[in-house]
């Protein structure tokens, strides 16, 4: 049966057609980038767990991101950019597959994308005209990259740029079966996940693995809270950026343009700022809005505790921003910004509110979904701002189009405004957390967020007494999401809820035989 030509299809087509009209190459110096016959390079830097509401480039009162503010002066800044999931697995899969978690089904912690949709990944769609590189310090994202391994020309090892490795990491040595061997060895036989299972499945491998754990908190004068650590190894942000720079400089010399996906762990917890940033915001007078505890809170933190965590997180962001700034300066001085699209984003944000700290939660408030997106087009020397809501699922069609390829029609994203897309404030953006729902069954236990213009509906499904509850906010008037008017504006709430449930039902249809 032929699929009807939807509004979304129209927008995709119109956006693609408008690209050369709206953004002639000369406008951003693309001509010079293409003079040597090469397409521009595309560099994507993903900083894990970077919440836009904590960044001064988005108006946060603490000066957390001066380097990004500088970079913004030659970039397009997306002010309402959203993750499609609230933790790495669903959010990264959405970014790399261009679809909402209910489609790609990487729903669970350490979950995987639908095997039959793996071919939809960004790397394959970029085509072999690009030298495709990928690296991540986040094991959840690494599992997805391993699923896409065949489409990546240069898949840098997970321990690239690591210091003290605190795990055996056996699966890394089995590149042809690195996904299944991860679950066998690094999630069962050798490594016991915290709070999971009795002990490792193999007495010998388990012991060899656990004996490395004492390297987790490396004390250092430079790092009062310990050296940065990603649950698997310690690392140094500045060194990581230097190593990435080396890799991309090498790639720039190649015959093909490169596409580099570099997904750093930082500023994910544990927050470990250097001495010069530690305590920077202590008693600075900033007081965020105190919010009441939510019934679905999982961590039950006190307000005082949340304030302390927020302070350290902000300090760590400032620390990371300084290293990122040096990296961007190096790109600029090396001329890379003249032939490279530079994209800076995150997979998801972080919550410090309503008793919740973290992101692996049932809550979908802005702190955990609102993420940064800054895109610098080759040669761009002026700032542009996009206020229309956009989603990380839009990156795939946008980047694939930049690479001169046609995005897979199954992609649910549209071209980003500023990269050929048109602004559509009535578009519905969905984000989802269904970490306790089987990836193979209809979604019946989830929180779903739908953003349409400035309105945001959060719908809770399968949470016992909270089942079927919804919250409605107006982000324009109430960015802190304090005034829930689901009960007062019943018309808007009902309309948005109907659309959300319709989309959810459609996604569930393929799995309905398993309900």
């Amino acid at each position: 049966m032929t699929k009807p030509f939807s509004r979304r299809d129209f927008l995709k087509t119109a956006g693609a057609a408008a690209l050369p009209l709206l953004f002639p190459r000369q406008a951003f110096g693309l001509e010079s980038a293409l003079q040597n016959g090469k397409q521009p390079n595309i560099l994507m830097i993903v900083l894990d767990t970077l919440s836009a509401p904590h960044m001064s480039v988005y108006g946060y009162p603490r000066p957390t991101t001066p380097a990004l503010e500088k970079f913004a002066e030659r970039s397009t800044v997306y002010h309402s950019h959203y993750a499609a999931g609230n933790f790495t697995t669903p959010a990264t899969a959405s970014m790399l597959m261009g679809c909402v978690p209910w489609t790609h089904r990487a729903l669970n912690l350490f979950g995987l994308a639908r095997r039959d949709l793996v071919g939809q990944n960004l790397f394959r769609q970029m085509g072999d005209g690009y030298h495709r590189m990928a690296f991540t310090q986040n094991m959840l994202a690494e599992l997805l990259l391993r699923q896409f391994h065949a489409d990546i020309d240069q898949h840098l090892p997970f321990t690239f740029s690591s210091q003290d490795v605190t795990t055996l990491g056996i699966s890394q040595h089995l590149p042809n079966d690195s996904v299944d061997s991860f679950y066998a060895f690094d999630d069962f036989l050798a490594t016991r996940r915290e709070n999971d299972g009795p002990l490792a499945g193999s007495p010998l491998l388990g012991l060899l693995d656990i004996l490395r754990k004492d390297k987790e908190t490396v004390e250092s004068d430079a790092y009062p809270l310990g050296v940065p650590f990603n649950n698997y190894y310690t690392y140094n942000n500045a060194e990581t950026f230097r190593n990435i720079l080396r890799v991309i400089e090498e790639a720039r010399k190649g015959d093909k343009p490169y596409f580099g996906y570099f997904h750093l762990w930082t500023p994910h917890e544990p927050y470990r700022p250097r001495m010069e940033y530690f305590g920077k915001y202590k008693k600075d007078g900033y007081e965020p809005t105190a919010k009441p505890e939510h019934p679905l809170t999982e961590t039950f933190r006190t307000e005082k505790n949340l304030l302390r965590l927020r302070q350290t997180y902000d300090e760590y962001i400032t620390d990371v921003d300084a290293d990122l700034g040096l990296f961007l300066d190096s790109l600029e001085s090396g001329g890379a910004l003249d032939d490279t699209y530079v994209i800076i984003t995150s997979d998801h944000g972080q919550l410090f509110e309503r008793g919740e700290h973290g992101h692996n939660t049932a809550l979908l408030y802005d702190g955990v979904l609102h993420i940064p997106l800054l895109i610098s087009v080759p040669g761009q020397n002026q700032r542009a701002d996009v206020y229309t809501p956009t989603s990380n699922i839009d990156l795939l069609p946008s980047l694939v189009t930049l690479a001169g390829q046609a995005p897979d029609p199954a992609s649910e994203g549209i071209l980003l405004p500023g990269l050929g897309g048109v602004e559509d404030s009535n578009r519905s953006l969905f984000s989802l957390v269904a970490k306790n729902n089987s990836a193979f069954a209809p979604i019946q236990h989830a929180s779903v967020s739908m953003i349409q213009g400035s309105k945001k509906l959060i719908y809770y499904l399968g949470y016992g007494a909270y089942d079927g509850k919804s919250e409605l906010y107006d982000l324009a008037d109430d960015p802190d999401e304090m005034k829930d008017f689901a009960a007062s504006d019943t018309v808007t709430a009902a309309r948005m809820k109907a659309e959300l449930l319709s989309a959810l039902d459609e996604s569930n249809r393929a799995f309905s035989h398993k309900s």
Binding site: N176, D180, Y183, F188, P203, L205
Partner: protein, 181 residues
């Protein structure tokens, strides 16, 4: 030299029987943890993939069992013949159980009690070694303790008919999966 070495080693039947006891313990433990993980895996892995995890488990445990067996054979060479080799079925069984138990205890103290590595090694060695020594001593004094060890060493070899073919199958399948560019 080789002849002397051979004379200090137990016969093949005894070795295989003790190996079976070790594998019985390792597979038993791995199965407990496997079943713990199984429901979570089913959230995102299909049965074929879970079967592959199990094949890795089988292969690993068979190799690991061989590692403990080599240690026991080394003990046979090093310890007085009258103490270890001549009682290999019973004392090899006890030591074959104590070795992996020692390693598990070490992990337990580190993972659940945050003990330092040194303390964990010492304490677990005291417990596992103490219990193994006690069992050996009791097996001399009271027949029932020897009978328990003999029961294990006589009955578990039947499982070798499952473990070893499964390990061979694992080797083939996992080799194929790990071959290629």
């Amino acid at each position: 030299m080789l002849q002397t070495l051979k004379s200090r080693l137990p016969d093949r039947g005894e070795v295989m029987s003790v190996y079976a006891v070790i594998l019985f313990f390792l597979f038993g433990w791995a199965t407990i943890v496997f079943l713990w993980k199984f429901p979570a895996w089913l959230y995102y892995a299909n049965l074929g993939e879970v079967a592959v995890f199990y094949l890795y488990t089988v292969f690993t445990e068979v190799l690991e069992g061989f590692f403990y067996l080599v240690i026991l054979l080394l003990l046979c060479v090093l310890l007085p013949v009258s103490f270890f080799k001549e009682h290999f079925s019973v004392r090899g069984t006890i030591m074959g159980l104590a070795l992996p138990a020692w390693l598990l205890l070490m992990q337990y103290f580190i993972a659940f009690h945050d003990f330092g590595n040194g303390l964990a090694v010492l304490l677990s060695a005291l417990i596992a070694g103490g219990l193994a020594s006690l069992w050996m001593w009791l097996s001399v004094k009271y027949a029932i303790f020897e009978r328990v060890a003999r029961l294990l060493v006589e009955r578990t070899p039947i499982f070798l008919y499952v473990y070893l073919p499964l390990a061979a199958l694992s080797l083939v399948i996992l080799s194929v999966r790990n071959m290629g560019s």
